[in-house]
Amino acid sequence: MMQDTPLIVQSDKTLLLDVHHPRSEECRADLVRFCELIKSPEHMHTYTLSAISLWNAAASGIKLETILDRLTYWSKFPIAESVYFYVKDMASRWGKVRLTESDDPRYYRLEVDSERIKSELSQRRALSKLLVLKDSRTFLLETYARGEVKLQLIKIGYPVDDRIRLSAGPHVPLALRKQTRSGKDFVVRPYQKMSADALLGDLGPGCGFGTIVLPCGSGKTVVGMEIMQRLATRTLVVTTNVAAVHQWMQEILDKTDLTEEQVGEYTGERKDPREITVCTYQVLTYRPDKEGPFPHLDLLTKGNWGLIIYDEVHMLPAPVFKITAELQAVYRVGLTATLVREDGREDEVFSLVGPKRFDVPWNELQQQGFIAEAYCHEIRIDLPKELEIPYALGTKREKYRMASENPLKLEVVKELVNRHPDDFILIIGQYLDQLKHIADAFKLPIITGSTPNAKREELYRAFRDGSTRILVVSKVANFAIDLPDASVAIQVSGTFGSRSEEAQRLGRILRPKNRSSFFYSVVTRYSNEEEFAANRQKFLAEQGYSYEIEVWNN
């Protein structure tokens, strides 16, 4: 029997939402409480019933009966028994393993519900070495092992009901301004507030940590500041590069009542920790030699932080992973637009920083005008004749490089720049020689990894204030750089098939403005660059962006 509802519940526990159905928004509002958004292309959005999403739902007090009732109500077709079973099984696991404080401040107590779980935990080597059996249903663990134990338990399918309150950290009062220092009206958008609500909950056990996924340009920094305001505590923000550090600091000073004395920077250039400190992942993971210790990781562990914000959390490097596992008593939030890692370690981000608490389809924010409407084009050009034979003889890597650095791309860039005489344009690429060549040919400023930070700041500023209209940038500008007026991005080359890079680059032009944005990806036709380009576009395609293909006639 078929109902006229917008949802199809598949047997593999994915939920397909027909976004054109008149009741799709109503349905979505129910789904986000216990499902995870996987992709949101133009017509059919995919959610999934994952263990984590069900545990999160259980943790936030949603009853199993409510989940089953909502699924049944919205599903167009009868739901498979296996799905019911999975939901019941997963939801029932919540609360069977509880983490509480013990009399001894050096230890936590891990209580289990049954003998069977106890023996299962005792038999797992990875767990047994961290746990000491106290009595028939209770283990003790050292406080530093809290994150690792939770990680291992999630791996074997037992979510931990963590009833230990996060430590508040030293009080740092701060408030968001209604008018920014630069004089503009400022208000936190509804979805930004909802993100903070979703993360902090009632500030009780199980709340206060997690990941927030929002599109590029939608104001994740503001979400971070909203959380800072609510917790009013000593905060560390970790971000991707020095320019982003400065951007965070500027934003904080611009939109909060904090003073310059309260906001400090901890980077390779300057180490000045204050009540609110912004640092880079690089400085935390820096070490003078490969075998030696990480001298700056202490900032993370011994800084007495009440809140840690991991900006672009999908970039979290491995050593920070490890330390994050030990920082379970601290309020923490991961911010990202693209929770995809080419190394497939998204799950670890979830278990260490915290599960995804909020996600919103890109096209929804686009429709509401919170991010710019963007049109993506893939422009295909031929390889010059003289490169055809070398290309045919090259290795896969050489082929990709030859195709990426195709000299004919220069002509395309020229034409595209002419097409947009009034736009602010970023020309983004992977290979420095190619970028330098473009910069030289058009006499344009260029920012690469070797550009000193001061120079970078100067060029970014010039771009922001309009004195420079076109900027050539390498991958250093992929993340966390806010260039509000940029409306055109021309990608001349990229890091192979990186999906997040493509999305982040598009993100550079998504700040809402009074014009549409255009993203051009210039690709060599009939080369392996085409295949890598197709892979790069996957994430955006899943967010509802489609690429118009143009074939360039040389």
Partner: protein, 629 residues
């Protein structure tokens, strides 16, 4: 209706007049009373017919039906005309052989069933009413429930299977296929995959050993079937049956019952084997389970065959997936141009470079693909995809690789090759006015045509011998396909019928008890009353029909006499109660030992094993009229 009645009466008269005199008069005397001499047999038959045409008589007959009667009658509704042995064999798990034999005989004496040359048929005068009483529940439906939405080998499954085979070139199951078919449990999926691969290879829908290819013509033909037809074809192919009506009936009844236990399933298969004159009932449980028609969960649950779920139209999303709900039209080509991602309520395919190239290689043109996507997708959702495909197609067209023979000739031969239709079809391409690429697989043919047209041909200059693969054919394929398409929907009893009342009119018994009769006549009538052969007071007349004779205990002579009476008569059986068992036998002869002890030589039914039984060992002998013919 009147015509139908006349036909039924004629049929009744014909069947009755074929009965032996003994049986005929037994029935006539029971229902019409005393028969005085001289008589006119056709007139008697006419009177008997008129007797049974009376509405109140028919109502009485029907009112007396009990549960066992309905089981037997329902079985006959399923099987059609059937031998008594088949009834006793099929229902042996429910009642003993003797009980069944007596009841079948009783139904004939009650004229509910008639004998047609050894086969039991319903009395044509009450056939319609009987069919209203019968149903599937008493036979198979103890556990009946609605069919389950379980996965099975549907045409949609076949499409996705073919899509996978086209991509992989192999039929061996791999674990990662599980993600494409989330509705299936791993083990049944593997079984289905292997069985389907094997069947399609055997039907030549798949060809090749190391690299399996799809014969698209045959695959398309197969996909014109609906789910039920496809399952019938696969079942029959597996069983080596050409007659698909058996499988059609089976699936139709299973679809009505929904779920049943193993015994009922075996009974159903056995009944249909009888109906369709199969030599033996095939052991179909594992086959039905392999194709997903049934699945075991305490009892067997039948999958709901989803034949009329409408197609929703293709939804081409921005992530290049193509999805739809429902069932494709027979000529749908999506499985040829895209790779399956998920087969569930929503079926999702993805067009990849490889799948698109394979589609073009298999003979589809870009125009066909373009037209298909344009006309079947919702709104303009396919525009971006089509743009990408057109670019791929342009690349595809740039190079063509032929497996061909090069024919270099003079202008005259070239003229023939260009203009002679019979030769032209063997030319793959013309490289220059006098150089042609010729088909390798038809080399013998075009050589012959050239020779016939007066050319002198040398041997082909080859470096090595290349064996040309000839297309393999399974002659059964076309026939089975046609049978599957043309099989008519069977007419079947409903799942639930009316409840039996097994009503006995006590007024008749009172009438017997108060009638002016001898003890023997009264006893005979009472016996016939309890055997439900007395339908009206007019039958209560002073006569003895000896419907049952029995002797037991110390009546040694009585027992011997009954044994002798039954000897050699095929329509009479003896029920024997021995000290430790009961037997139903056909008496062959009675012999004596030198000590004058009587020995019964008898064939034990139903195996007809011959035994010699001393009459002294028999506690009770009962004579039963088994065949009324």
């Amino acid at each position: 209706m009147e015509q139908l009645n006349e036909q039924a009466q004629e049929s009744f008269k014909t069947l009755i007049s074929r009965y032996s005199e003994d049986n005929y008069f037994f029935l006539v005397r029971n229902y019409l009373g005393l028969v005085s001499t001289p008589f006119h047999k056709p007139q008697l038959t006419g009177r008997l017919c008129t007797f049974f045409c009376q509405k109140h008589i028919q109502e009485n007959m029907l009112a007396m039906l009990d549960e066992m009667d309905l089981v037997i009658l329902s079985l006959i509704q399923v099987t059609g005309s059937v031998r008594a042995e088949d009834v006793t064999r099929l229902l042996k798990s429910r009642w003993s052989y003797g009980t069944l034999l007596r009841r079948v005989s009783n139904l004939q004496q009650r004229m509910v069933l008639l004998n047609n040359n050894g086969y039991l048929v319903c009395n044509p005068l009450i056939e319609e009413q009987l069919s209203e009483c019968t149903s599937l529940t008493p036979l198979f439906g103890e556990h009946a429930h609605a069919c389950r939405n379980s996965p099975y080998c549907s045409t949609e499954f076949l499409r996705s299977f073919l899509s996978l085979i086209r991509k992989e070139g192999k039929i061996a199951f791999r674990e990662e296929y599980q993600r494409h078919f989330p509705t299936f449990a791993p083990e049944p999926l593997e079984q289905l995959f292997n069985a389907l691969g094997k069947a399609l290879l055997s039907l030549c829908v798949l060809e090749g050993e190391k690299h399996v290819q799809i014969n698209d013509q045959k695959a398309s033909a197969l996909l014109t079937l609906n789910d039920r037809q496809l399952l019938c074809l696969l079942l029959c192919h597996q069983l080596g049956l050409e007659n698909m009506a058996f499988a059609f009936d089976l699936l139709a009844i299973l679809g009505i019952i929904g779920s049943l236990d193993t015994n009922s399933l075996k009974l159903l298969i056995g009944s249909l084997a009888v109906k369709h004159h199969l030599e033996s009932a095939p052991s179909l449980l594992s086959e039905l389970s392999t194709w997903g028609v049934i699945s075991l969960d305490e009892v067997w649950h039948v999958s709901a065959l989803d034949t009329d779920h409408p197609h929703s139209g293709l939804l081409v999303d921005s992530d290049q997936t193509i999805s739809y709900e429902g069932t494709c039209l027979p000529d749908d080509m999506l499985y040829r141009i895209a790779e399956i991602e998920v087969l569930d309520h929503q079926k999702r395919y993805r067009v990849t470079k490889e799948s698109f190239v394979l589609a073009l290689d298999s003979g589809l043109t870009f125009n066909e693909i373009e037209h298909y996507l344009h006309t079947n997708s919702r709104a303009s959702s396919a525009t971006t995809l089509l743009k990408q495909l057109s670019l791929l197609h342009e690349r595809y067209r740039r190079i063509a690789i032929y497996d061909a023979l090069i024919l270099s000739c003079d202008e005259r031969t070239a003229n023939l090759l260009t203009n002679l239709p019979s030769l032209k079809e063997h030319v793959l391409s013309s490289l220059s006015p006098t150089i042609f690429l010729m088909r390798r697989d038809t080399e013998e043919l075009w050589r012959q045509i050239l020779v016939d047209s007066g050319q002198l041909l040398g041997s082909t200059k080859r470096h090595e011998h290349i064996e040309v693969k000839r297309p393999v054919e399974n002659p059964l394929f076309t026939q089975m396909l046609e049978n599957a398409r043309t099989c008519a929907e069977p007419s079947l009893p409903p799942l639930v019928g009316s409840k039996p009342s097994a009503f006995l009119d006590k007024r008749l018994l009172e009438a017997i008890q108060t009638a002016k009769l001898t003890d023997e006549q009264r006893s005979d009538l009472e016996h016939r009353y309890h055997a439900r052969m007395i339908l009206t007071k007019e039958q209560i007349v002073a006569q003895v029909l000896n419907t049952v004779l029995e002797a037991g205990g110390f009546d040694y002579q009585g027992k011997v006499s009954l044994c002798r009476q039954a000897s050699g008569k095929t329509n009479i059986a003896l029920e024997l109660q021995l000290t430790d068992q009961e037997l139903v036998v056909q008496a062959l002869e009675v012999a004596y030992t030198p000590q004058k002890e009587a020995l019964l030589k008898a064939a034990v039914m139903p195996t007809m094993e011959v035994k010699i039984i001393p009459v002294s060992k028999i506690f009770l002998v009962r004579l039963v009229r088994i065949h009324l013919a």
